[in-house]
Assembly symmetry: D2
């Protein structure tokens, strides 16, 4: 009888957007089981959330320290094996560190930490403990992102010349944080979000996606970073020129004041022989463009796809899968790796594929450099 991977959660009290996303993602494939949680910094709220989630009272904790300590004392077959961290940025580091130090695997929301220093400490800790660490840059979990990555690695579109990655949203076009809206409030508060607003919240997704799909590294950037909404404390828009380690050039722009845009993450990659285009809002489609032939519409479930593509969708062609399924792919892969770790085995590389702590460090460095560039008169900052 297969055992589900038991995990606990920090943050994600009832009503939280991302906490619920993590729970649905963890539940979808039946590979994990939520066994405990410290769902809020308010112990009463944590208790209520636990009850609604159907957890026994004794597995609902007032804070993450208590949870980690108490769980560690439970019998091995019962205690949580992994910790899911779904708090705002300033509460990533402490629970992640404590979990790792106590032998728990970690799956953490992005960006990795509040600043680069914290991120680098976590990276070292993951290295030294050998524990499994996943960062939920969930957009890399989409099957057609896997397909794009592999096609590029196989040289199907030739050497990469140009990358355009965009992440426009419009939901912060007004001074929403003033109204107390929870999602807006912490994301625009430097004491919780860190030095970046939009560039940290979504710019890092774009940066991560561009490097993941192309397999290239950004080596220099030149940014124009703005705060458009009066009274706002952190950037709500950024336009960035990129240079990559193979000589490719690029553009990254992210915005939360692109009025009328929903969550329009998209990427176009142009090589010597062809181009790829993927858009998160219709994620089951990958456009493959050629110099002198008809554009092809690659779709999940149709034709000859790479093994890692096939491994990341669940239902036949034409049955759309979305954001939660991509998110669930991260959780499913994390669970497979946790189980392999437990069994002392090497996981199948098709599944051992999710954003790592090092990707998280890279994201934090991106935040630092892009914000610095925004303030600088120097054209190019190395990255």
């Amino acid at each position: 009888m297969k055992q589900k991977v038991r995990f606990g959660m920090v943050g994600g009290g009832t009503g939280a957007f991302i906490g619920n996303v993590h729970r649905m993602a963890a539940a979808l494939d039946g590979e994990l089981e939520l066994v405990c949680g410290a769902f809020s910094s308010d112990p009463e709220k944590s208790r209520t959330s636990g009850a609604i989630l159907g957890l026994p009272e004794n597995r609902v904790y007032p804070d993450f320290e208590t949870m980690i300590r108490t769980e560690k004392a439970l019998p091995e077959a019962e205690r949580m094996q992994a910790l899911s961290i779904v708090t705002p940025n300033h509460v990533h580091f402490a629970p992640a560190k404590l979990a790792l130090e106590n032998g728990f695997h970690v799956i953490c929301d992005k960006p990795l930490a509040f600043n680069l220093e914290e991120a680098e400490i976590l990276e070292k800790l993951v290295d030294s403990t050998g524990l499994v660490f996943a960062l939920t840059h969930n957009y890399t979990g989409y099957p057609m992102v896997k397909q794009a990555r592999r096609m590029i690695r196989e040289g199907e579109i030739g050497s990469i010349r140009k990358v355009v990655v965009e992440y426009p949203q419009g939901w912060l076009s007004t001074f929403l944080e003033e109204s107390g809206q929870k999602q807006a409030a912490w994301r625009t508060d430097p004491s919780k979000s860190g030095i970046a607003g939009a560039m940290g919240d979504i710019g890092t997704h774009a940066e991560n996606l561009a490097e993941y799909i192309t397999g290239l590294r950004i080596t220099a950037l030149c940014a124009d970073i703005s705060i458009f909404v009066p009274g706002r404390k952190l950037d709500d828009d950024g336009n960035v020129l990129l240079r990559f380690n193979n000589g490719a050039k690029g553009i990254l722009h992210a915005s939360q004041i692109a009025a009328g845009e929903e969550n329009n993450l998209n990427i176009r990659v142009y090589g010597e022989k062809g181009g790829l285009e993927w858009r998160q809002m219709e994620p089951n489609t990958l456009l493959v463009k050629w110099l002198d032939q008809a554009t092809q519409v690659y779709r999940t479930g149709v034709g000859n796809l790479y093994p890692e593509t096939l491994a990341h969708f669940r239902i036949p062609a034409g049955h759309p899968e979305g954001y939660l399924e991509a998110f669930a792919n991260i959780y499913r892969n994390f669970a497979i790796c946790v189980r392999a770790h437990q069994d002392g085995k090497t996981p199948d590389p098709v599944f051992a594929d999710f954003p790592s702590v090092s990707d998280g460090v890279r994201g934090m460095r991106f935040i630092e450099r892009v914000i610095e560039s925004g303030k600088s008169d120097q054209k190019w900052l190395t990255f």
Copy 2:
């Protein structure tokens, strides 16, 4: 502490397409828990499937009769409360009947039964027992389908004049059943599928969607039903003229030989004032067309949507939800109604909304009439 609704499953052994879909749909929102199953007519296969699913051995049964009898004997707090039926058509009736007779709620894949007679027996049984019965015409679970339905009910596009509903697929363009492909084999086998192939498998989805969205009833039909692939025993294509109870006219066509089509269910409804268009393959979008104004692109999460729309998606605008989420809506609503039934309460009508046994009877009648019309020289058959 909230209790999940405990359910068992008939069919859906490992590798089955639709069984896995049901399990993921049931898991997504954390409202149900799979506690037992008779996953295959082969007891050994049932056992293996149960083990893979992490079920205790004593809750994995060799057949549905044993399961229903044994579960009934368990303490109330432990035994399954509902049965999910995910077998081919010819094995819907018997487990559904036995479950209802033994006090279990039922959630059953479509079409309801092997023939109309069976369907009508089930309908009476649901009426007499008062148990909750859901039929997984899952496409009605999409939020934008709810929105379309409500907009029409509110008269936003005026009295309906024309309905065009299509369900083209291409996967049976070749004689796939000959290869032994499991999904193709039973669907094209009259002893398992019933009198209809494509019209039963997907034509009923189209019929159900058209009536659900418009709130109208089909009153007459005129069909041209074909078998295109040599050797095939059941229809693989059908074109149908429709007439509705308010005088509206319509077209329904469904095909499994529309080469190159994935799962392109779509509907357009035209009223006196405007038109609606919804396509399953991009389900988060609803086009609303007007006589003399710009077409509007309604999207989940954007603008003023009706309460029943809001109740059927989970994440903010631009984060696509798909087939599994719509399917999960049926399960979630079913669970809410089971719980309400348990508590002797009337469920919130926003959630008490899923295809019923009567919709299933209607679907079986559609199958009978449309196949009859295909063979008839009479232009219109009443429905």
Copy 3:
């Protein structure tokens, strides 16, 4: 020095929609020159229109009889060579007949005539005179329609099984003719339009397109024809089942009460190996779908297109051409054939390709049969 083909026009006075379309189409490629006209049944209006068009007064006529007689008397190098007929349906026959009888080539708007009888007389006259006759079923002038036709003829998608052709418009959703709107008034007036409304005005375009692209012949039809707008005298909607001479099945529907639709002519053709989809509102794209490969997006100007496709667009990839360019293709081809006729040569078959008088007869027969079927209880009428 190349001579332009000189043509006169019947109808198309200032303000007329289709007259202006014909003039722009004739002008675009510099192959024809408008030299005279009888632009209105009102001589004064004809004069004004001629002046606005920059024609000399003596080449603007009070009626088509005078024009044909007078032009015939002019020196050969000066007189018109062809007549363009852009009047409502009831004034197609008389000028076409007179023109042919007097040795003028004819290019005529569709449908060919007021009724089938007239159409057959014209067909005989074209046969006996050997003059060039083009019918402006302009949608066959699009380059991607040519591409689709040739791909099917070459067997690229295999033997055809199913055809779905649609022509929804919404502009007659209200009782527009009551307001005196000119386009609506004559099209809904049986004394000017003939026995059909929507089925004649746009249904024939759909019928013509389906037969042109597939190379098949409709052999039987079963129609449901409606008048939805109270007070209207002719059909504003029709749904038709089709059967083709090779055993393929089809659906044709056309509507002028599909509220919110613009001019959404489209066709999908499914063969044993693949499918084609073309939509008039984005005419430079042809989707080519395959059983087990990625859908291809064929585009004008990209990749290996057939010679007849290449011959029907003017500018490189990504520079959209539209309705007028397709219409101009008919005029350009007509001019080439008129010139070849003059020179006693056989025109290049790539250009000798436009709807003929026989297509027009076929369209008139379609109108008669589809209206008859709409009134009949018999399921199938042969065609």
Copy 4:
């Protein structure tokens, strides 16, 4: 009787892409008449081209100097009134200057000249002569571009914050100029094209479109300019950060090595209240996005459009117009202004709207600054 505006042409011999485009654009609306030309620097080729175009031999000239001198000597009612210049960049200045000095109106392909100095001389000459001068930045001729411009001017989307304008093409992904392909050869040759390749050929279109639609002025830019194809002499790709005079930020990127892209000019403009999106490859559509309402799909011919939008399309909704029609709008408006000039009248501002010599100067300045920025370590160059 209305007189057509008589014009001559410099360049555009048979087989030339843009010469033919200009001729079709001039012909479409029947407002202009080509009466003479110096179609090639090779007098023999000029003669042949003239003959094919049906011009009398004595109006076909061996060079533009001869044409301008000879035409000037013709009677006023006969001689050309305007000169159309469709040569490569290095042959814009001389004929434009000579034409203006001799009292001829000019319509000239873009960019205005070979360098900024030439451009400024022409600007002064237009000012001093008062003659009509149009520059064929044809993309501003699209009706939905007019609509976008007016909506912004009316404040419908609020104060502008962000502009993203893209012009990706892929046709120069290979070293095409080596093959002698004519279009590639001169565009990549610094002696004919000037200091810029892609940035001059298409980057200026993007710059012009952004300023035209927004009504804003670019005040600073920061560019990364590349040559990707080995052996190429001029830029084939450029990424540019923009700052506008109202504080808005922007991105402009243009490429001729974006493999698989056709001619994908597009622009998105975000204001405080909403956003606009227009794409040249489907030009009859304008997306209008709102903070909290459904996106609207504005279409030519549908709903309440502004007068200048209505004045720039010809046929009802759903009949696509394209590149040539937009180009024809420039010619039609030019003709109206030439006629008004002749008559000493002020033209209707709805029509007196086409890119001017000053827009051309601005384009040349953009070329100079963007190329300079590409070579500079300084982050921002003022513009």
